[in-house]
């Protein structure tokens, strides 16, 4: 065979091969971009109730759509009392004064020169799950448990700054004030500084989102969200709390005897099954991974149990490591659904030994009008057809 013939033969063989494997032409994808967006097929958003004053209210994280433990910053829950200010970090100042030896005013640039730390912590509104007190709880995770999120926060330890200004004898409280329109104000026990409190300027690898207090917020891990004042502009060191509107009129727990508990700051252990949960439909009997989130203001989650019979028996779920203190812990358990009606729930225990209570236990202790700090076990009902609803609905 001549060289040319062989080439012809090879050529035609290749050509027929290409024909056999004919494919659709593809168009190029989108070009490089400066700021990434999520897939257009991924659509969960924060939800909010429509009110005449959308500057004062809350929006909830779609917790049932979250994977792992970190909440994307754009989906972190919101709670504002006078809207989200647009603060120029170059113009922002933090002033610390009062019962201190060296009052201090700091620019953001100066704050960022100080030694910093990064830690993962949940943040939960004191009013999260408040709807559950009524007994006809929220229909889905987002509307009932969605005022909680978890981020990696970066900032300066509060203790470092208090050492820097030098406390005077008698200093016991910090009156923290935000730079939002209403100048949100809360009294913070100075004990926060002994633990892990920080002045945070970073969230999930970038500066704080405006909704979370850009350029600077107080972070007192494990405590109710409202005390962790956003857009922080001053810390007035005092001997006594100021009994501000948001620690008396709001965020206080009214007991059946008419007395209201104040400064219930620590968020007690809580967990929620996020799959399967209200709004989901199981397509057919068979294997599913039951999953959810647990957290505690006291420290690490030690155990999460699951029930599939409405609370009669409980099985341990597996916990994703690392279990960080005062952070979301993901729990999971593979489970075979037999197609029949089931009532499921999770129950968290933290490292202090505290066990997440039932709604009945909470109501026995506090009545139904305390409004805040609800951490009861949430039951979901899976009906024979696979539709999942709140079990108390």
């Amino acid at each position: 065979m001549t060289k040319t013939n062989r080439r012809k033969l090879l050529g035609s063989a290749l050509a027929s091969g290409f024909l056999a494997q004919a494919q659709e032409p593809r168009s190029l994808g989108r070009p490089l971009s400066g700021y990434g967006e999520r897939s257009k097929f991924v659509r969960p958003v924060r939800t909010t109730r429509v009110t005449k004053t959308p500057e004062a209210g809350s929006s909830s994280t779609p917790l049932a759509d979250m994977l792992g433990t970190i909440t994307p910053s754009a989906l972190h829950y919101e709670r504002h009392h006078a809207g989200v200010p647009d603060i120029d970090p170059a113009a922002h100042r933090l002033t610390i004064y009062g019962l201190v030896q060296r009052p201090l005013v700091l620019t953001m640039e100066e704050i960022r020169r100080l030694p910093s730390v990064s830690r993962v912590h949940f943040l939960e509104c004191g009013g999260n799950s408040g709807v559950e007190w009524s007994g006809t709880g929220g229909p889905d995770v987002q509307r009932s448990y969605g005022l909680a999120s978890c981020s990696e926060w970066t900032g300066v330890p509060l203790r470092l700054l208090l050492d820097e200004v030098g406390l005077q004898p008698g200093a016991a409280w910090l009156i923290a004030e935000g730079a939002d329109a209403c100048r949100m104000q809360r009294s913070v026990p100075i004990t926060a500084a002994l633990d892990d409190a920080m002045l945070a300027y970073g969230q999930n690898g970038e500066p704080l989102r405006p909704e979370q207090g850009f350029p600077l917020r107080l972070l007192t891990p494990g405590w109710e969200g409202n005390v962790q004042v956003k857009w922080l502009r001053r810390l007035h060191v005092t001997a006594e709390p100021y009994m501000t509107r948001d620690e008396t009129s709001k965020y206080s727990d009214l007991m059946p005897d008419g007395k209201a508990r104040v400064f219930s700051l620590e968020m007690e252990a809580k967990s929620i099954v996020t799959f399967p949960s209200g709004g989901h439909t199981l397509s057919s009997p068979g294997l599913y991974e039951v999953s959810g989130l647990a957290w505690s203001g006291k420290g690490r989650i030690a155990r999460v149990e699951l029930t599939f019979d409405g609370g009669r028996t409980w099985t341990n779920a597996s916990l994703q490591e690392p279990r960080l203190p005062k952070a979301f812990t993901r729990f999971r358990l593979p489970w075979k659904w037999d197609g029949g009606p089931v009532v499921i729930a999770s129950r968290a225990t933290d490292e202090s030994g505290y066990v997440q209570p039932t709604r009945q236990e909470l109501v026995a202790a506090r009545g139904v009008n305390s409004g805040y700090h609800y951490n009861g076990i949430k039951f979901w009902r899976i009906a024979a057809g696979g539709v999942v609803t709140s079990a108390d609905a």
């Binding site: 006078a82 002033t95 020169r113 200004v165 209403c182 104000q185 709390p241 100021y242 236990e361």
Partner: protein, 174 residues
Amino acid sequence: MRTLSLFAALAGLAIAQSAKYGVGRAPSDEEIRGLGATVAPGGAGLPEGSGTAVEGRELFMRRCAKCHGGTAEGDVGPPLVGGIGTLATPKPRKTVGSFWPYATTLWNYVNRAMPFNEPGSLTHREAYAAVAYLLFINGIVEEKQVMDAKSLGKVRMPNRDGFVPDARPDIKRK
């Protein structure tokens, strides 16, 4: 409140004799004043100025009623009157009159946060007048009683003793 833990805090927080990092500068007294009034329960921090419910009524109708209602019964904003005696009932009504422990808190809040759509726009006199009016319609002060830095801290709110410390953990297990 939380006395024990606060003592622990004071013992634990070293009172450093000098700044370790020396970043930042000292604010002047004027700069601190410029941050705006902030008020302790007893009245420390209240600025000069005064007002009565008579002046406050006119201001309320002009600046507050559109959201809180002409009789402060609540609308877009919460009710600001009534509810005294309901806190220990199955249907408690928490208002400035029935629930708030200190009149100074009311001044501090109204001055910084109200009117909701124009916070920071009240003069100190107007804030005193608005507070005097709210206290008057709740039956706490007289119509002509002058509210100022001295008198406001002395007003005794009906629910002054209604607040107790956090009592958790409070769950009894069988």
